[in-house]
């Protein structure tokens, strides 16, 4: 990031005039908008963001048939029902497995590939980069049929492996581009210094580059996790047995039931949301630094 910032600041005009006076305490600085210009639109947008979340929480906690706008008395019946009767316990475990496996595979494969793209010049590099970019335009949903046939040929229909593989493959291109940009931001001279000190390439990478990559890896890994946790069509297509299904498919079946049980749907939605929202809240800061460092623009 520091390298990039340095190049960004370089063309800034040299200031001949003295710095503007620092604002006194309580007064706003020159680069700050008036308070109401921040809080008013933000407040309105927050309402738009939070009302839907509140709504689903409300439906999941209040007894069936209640029209109160406050979930009181609180009941956890919907959660119990969804978790056991609607097998969300199983779905949850499957989704965790798919999410974690996709995260690990994507990060490892993208790390190897990203290192090659960042540190080496090789003959097919340009072609490979082009293939990565083009694959962004390939809609996963439209490849369902050939993918189904491939997995049928590999005897992987109805195994979570098929979903993990498909999710990983569709996460790879962007992850690899991001990781290679992160690695480019780590000065090569640091690695070379480690070699001179007697490390081989692998150890130099592990002790010098890897720690500096942490924000980037967190961004990429969490992306992979959240995407595979949320993605619906692959699981719907490749998994037939109920005990192999993932959470989004479970949610869909709650929605398409003949008479929708709103309480159950809301509870299922909360169960689906909690892991990703937690992951997100935790990594939010790294995500933005990760993005500005890894710069999707390349």
């Amino acid at each position: 990031m520091s390298v990039k910032e340095a190049t960004k600041t370089a063309p800034a005009p040299v200031r001949a005039t003295p710095e503007p006076p620092r604002p006194a305490k309580g007064e706003r600085a020159w680069d700050e908008a008036p308070r109401w210009q921040i809080y008013l639109p933000l407040g309105i947008y927050l309402l738009f963001t939070l009302i839907p979340f509140y709504w689903i929480l409300l439906f999941s906690l209040r007894p069936a048939g209640s029209t109160s706008l406050v979930p009181w008395p609180v009941t956890f019946d919907h959660f119990e029902k969804v978790w056991t009767d609607r097998s969300f316990g199983t779905y949850f475990a499957n989704s965790v497995l798919v999410g974690v496996a996709t995260l690990l595979m994507t990060t490892l494969v993208a790390l190897a590939g990203g290192y090659a793209l960042a540190r080496f010049d090789f003959r097919i590099k340009r072609g490979f980069m082009l293939a990565l970019l083009c694959s962004q335009f390939v809609p996963g949903a439209l490849l369902l049929v050939p993918l189904f046939e491939i997995f049928a040929g590999l005897q992987m229909i109805n195994s979570l492996g098929s979903v993990i593989l498909a999710e990983t493959v569709f996460q790879l291109p962007l992850s690899m581009i991001l990781i290679s940009n992160f690695i480019k931001n780590v000065p090569y001279s640091l690695e070379e210094a480690a070699w001179v000190d007697g490390c081989n390439r692998m150890t130099a990478f592990r002790i010098v580059v890897l720690p500096l990559l942490r924000p980037g890896l967190i961004a990429v890994g969490s992306f992979a996790f959240v995407h595979s946790w949320n993605h619906f069509l692959f699981a719907l297509m490749f998994l037939n047995n109920q005990d192999k299904q993932t959470i989004p498919v479970g949610l869909n079946s709650l929605m398409s039931a003949d008479s929708v049980d709103l309480g159950a749907l809301a509870a299922g939605g909360i169960i689906a949301a909690v892991p990703v929202v937690l992951v997100f809240a935790f990594i939010q800061k790294w995500l933005i630094t990760g993005f500005s460092a890894g710069a999707v623009k390349g």
Binding site: E5, P13, R15, P20, D31, R35, I38, P41, L46, T49, P52, F53, W55, T67, A110, A112, G113, Y115, A116, L117, F122, K125, F128, S135, F137, P139, L142, L143, P146, L147, I150, A166, V169, F170, L172, V196, G198, C199, R201, V226, N230, F232, L233, M237, P248, M255, S256, V260, L262, L265, G269, A272, V276, V279, F280, I288, F291, S292, A295, G298
Partner: protein, 311 residues
């Protein structure tokens, strides 16, 4: 362990290791796993979609299977009114969604880029729908739009709308209702990408502009917007492709209904292949979708002169 011993030896003379030379096969080894996965699960399926598009291929009607030439394409363009409807709706959906997301996303990013009390929490809250899936978004908005207990009921209480209307099953309201639901999680995505780029604008530029007496609006037009140009172009393009391709939300929110009113081309393709098992026809439609995507993104990149200069 041997390594640890080697490090422990104090006066280890700096030796030139194999590592510092550039091994010729190493980069190929490193990209091999990614390349193989992508060949097998993206490139090969793409090719087979092109192949199937020229076939009659329907597992439920195997007696008709075989080479079909361009029949599937001819059928789509001349005999299938649904195809044209889905094309029109796809265009409408992408333009409206991406346009509004860009507008609101930019505004939101500019706001949360300011320093203010509670910024961290504010950011976390307004960005949180980004983490939510298409299916979950549908679930949430199905609850909100529910005709009996949804927000419509409470709006009717204060005189907006009427009881018992479901915005998702009425052809006149389903489009805005779906747009709003998708905006809910689409705006944060845009805002995050733009915010990431906003943070790399040099403060010096603004200070200099301030000293020169440029107004905030002028600063926005002449400093912020030009700086954000590439990020905006790329995120708009990515988002447009994504909104076009995404099936999760509409599939579960409206199922393409009422009366096919919200069926995008990819949704039609999914229905044709998954429900109707007409794989040959679905592949032909997929090919059409590819060509459209490719064409639009090339035109867009050319018009915006993105990537014109070598990076």
């Amino acid at each position: 362990m041997a390594q640890a011993a080697a490090v422990a030896k104090p006066p280890a003379p700096p030796r030139r290791r194999r590592a510092s030379a550039t091994p010729r096969r190493l980069p190929y080894l490193l990209i091999a796993p990614a390349a193989l996965l992508m060949l097998g699960f993206i490139a090969y399926p793409v090719v087979s979609v092109f192949y199937y598009s020229l076939q009659n291929y329907n597992p439920t009607k195997p007696w008709r299977n075989g080479y079909a030439g361009f029949d599937n394409f001819v059928h789509a363009f001349t005999e299938d009114p649904v195809f044209w409807d889905t094309l029109v709706f796809s265009a409408k959906w992408v333009v409206v969604e991406v346009g509004l997301q860009l507008l609101f996303g930019l505004a939101l990013a500019l706001i949360v880029n300011q320093t203010f009390v509670g910024r961290g929490l504010g950011r976390a809250l307004v960005f949180s729908p980004w983490a939510v899936s298409g299916v979950l978004t549908s679930a949430i908005w199905v609850l909100l739009y529910n005709s009996q207990t949804g927000i419509t009921r409470y709006l009717a209480d204060i005189g907006i709308g009427s009881y018992g209307t479901s915005w998702l099953s009425d052809t006149s309201t389903v489009f805005p209702a779906a747009v709003v639901a998708d905006l809910w999680r689409g705006v944060p995505f845009f805002a995050i990408l733009i915010l990431a780029d906003l943070q790399s604008v040099s403060k010096d530029l603004y200070e200099a502009a301030e000293v020169d007496g440029a107004s905030r609006i002028k600063q926005f037009w002449h400093i912020t917007l030009p700086h954000l140009k590439d990020a905006i172009i790329l995120s708009t393009l990515l988002r447009a492709v994504w909104e076009f391709n995404n099936v999760d939300l509409l599939y579960t929110l409206t199922g393409g209904g009422p009366a096919g009113e919200t069926t995008t081309l990819p949704l039609y393709i999914a229905n044709t292949s998954v429900d109707a098992h007409n794989f040959g026809y679905a592949s032909a439609l997929t090919t059409v979708a590819f060509v459209i995507l490719l064409f639009c993104s090339m035109v867009y990149l050319r018009l915006s002169k993105f990537g014109g200069e070598s990076k």
